[in-house]
Amino acid sequence: MITRFITEVQTAFNPFSPRAKSARLFLSFLPPNARSSGMSITTRLLPRASDAPSKLYVKFRDGKELNIDADNMGIKSIIEEVDRHSRILQKADDLAAA
């Protein structure tokens, strides 16, 4: 996953629900130095009895915001979705550098 262009990640999930899987896996895909390199990551754990859907919000460097339906999407499709925009930014970056 290209994480260079993500500036903010917000998640909320109930770990006791099987639907929290993709939101949790998304967190594990962020690199070890994500916070120190300027990404702000906030995670809220919902209580065990809560039925609220898991939330995944991603904000990019150019201000684009993504609200991902982490309840019904697998981790692969979430990464695909996030990378789709990251690649655009990467291309722009490469062109500017060249």
């Binding site: 006791f16 929290a20 594990s28 990551i41 065990r48």
Partner: protein, 343 residues
């Protein structure tokens, strides 16, 4: 002593000397008669010491899957952990570096060692509490094994001893065929998993990178100390102060703690969420405190009960007593009237 392996080189030399025209046939020939007879002798010697064909060494009982692999031994470790350890906190760890793990473990050790309780047990607890990364899939199997496999129900089978005598043996260890069948039954849906079982509640947690903090006894003080280090929440479990433990406030430790998420716990075979863990950690004075509360409650309830039971008897006694006094008065009154009449 004859050679253990057939020495084709010497045989070739011998046959080549006899029939030098056909070396290829000599190569195909197994061995010279002298060598085979020697080999036979060797075999007869070993037959006297041989074990039965289906002999199973007592230290290495048969297993359903290869028992020497890392996976199998890890499964044994996890089942014993689950059977003996009452407090297991489960954390999600998101890409901690080795340095960060070291820092977290150091702070955790210091925090738990600082718990002031009397007796040697607490020192022992502090040295045995540990934070370890789990292999989730194997931990999942271990949870199933602990909950759905009953080793006492396995039927004994007969196996030969070294002398050839057959004896009854029960192979009910965690890697046995019976255990494997029980877990397979759960996995394939042959055995229904009840919604209330601990496995059903904990299995959604075992996804992605999971680490476990284990404490070998239910000690709310130690649990509170661990919580205030690993997942501080200010009013009840405040993080240690900068003055007390400067290492805790180093950037490495802080960035490690940001990546550790307390997702749940298994305390005394029951699943707990974060609030539940905080409740257990918040029990004042440990288990003894809880027992004292219970005793106090029972005592006060008993006192209430005795006063209620006494109340009915008391009121009856009061009525009877008042009635008696009235009757006595009447009798006395009658007597005085009689006396007056006599007078």
């Amino acid at each position: 002593m004859p050679p253990r392996l057939r020495c084709t080189a010497s045989a070739r030399g011998l046959t080549a000397a006899v029939k030098p025209s056909r070396p290829s046939a000599a190569l195909l020939r197994p061995a010279t008669p002298a060598v085979t007879s020697a080999a036979r002798q060797y075999a007869t010697v070993s037959r006297g010491l041989s074990l039965p064909d289906d002999y199973v060494p007592p230290t290495k009982p048969p297993t359903a899957r290869p028992g020497e692999t890392r996976k199998a031994q890890l499964l044994r470790t996890y089942t014993s952990l689950l059977r003996t350890t009452p407090v297991i906190l489960l954390f999600q760890h998101n890409n901690l570096t080795a340095e960060e793990w070291i820092a977290v473990r150091r702070e955790l050790k210091a925090g738990i060692a600082a718990v002031a309780t009397t007796g040697d047990a607490s020192a022992d607890l502090a040295s045995k509490a540990q934070l370890q990364v789990l292999r989730t899939s194997i931990f999942d199997v271990a949870l199933k094994l602990v909950e759905f496999y009953d080793p006492s129900k396995v039927q004994p089978t007969s196996a030969p001893t070294a002398t050839g005598k057959r004896v009854k043996v029960t192979y009910n260890h965690d890697l046995s065929k019976a255990a494997w069948k029980a877990v397979r039954g759960v996995t394939m849906g042959e055995t229904k998993i009840p919604e209330t079982s601990t496995y059903a509640q904990l299995s959604p947690l075992l996804v992605g990178p999971v680490a476990a903090f284990t404490l070998p006894a239910v000690s709310p003080q130690h649990l509170a100390a661990a919580l205030s280090i690993l997942a501080p929440s200010p009013p009840k479990f405040p993080a240690p102060t900068r003055k007390k433990s400067p290492g805790y406030h180093e950037p490495i430790t802080q960035s490690a703690l940001q990546k550790l998420l307390l997702i749940g716990a298994r305390i005394e075979d029951k699943a707990f969420d974060m609030e539940g863990v905080k409740w257990v950690g918040g029990i004042e004075n440990g288990l003894d405190g809880l027992r004292a509360q219970l005793v106090h409650m029972l005592q006060s309830a008993g006192m209430g009960l005795t006063s209620t039971l006494e109340g009915a008897g008391k009121s009856l006694w009061l009525t009877m007593e008042s009635r008696r006094s009235v009757l006595e008065e009447e009798q006395n009154g009658g007597k005085t009237e009689e006396k007056k009449a006599e007078a």
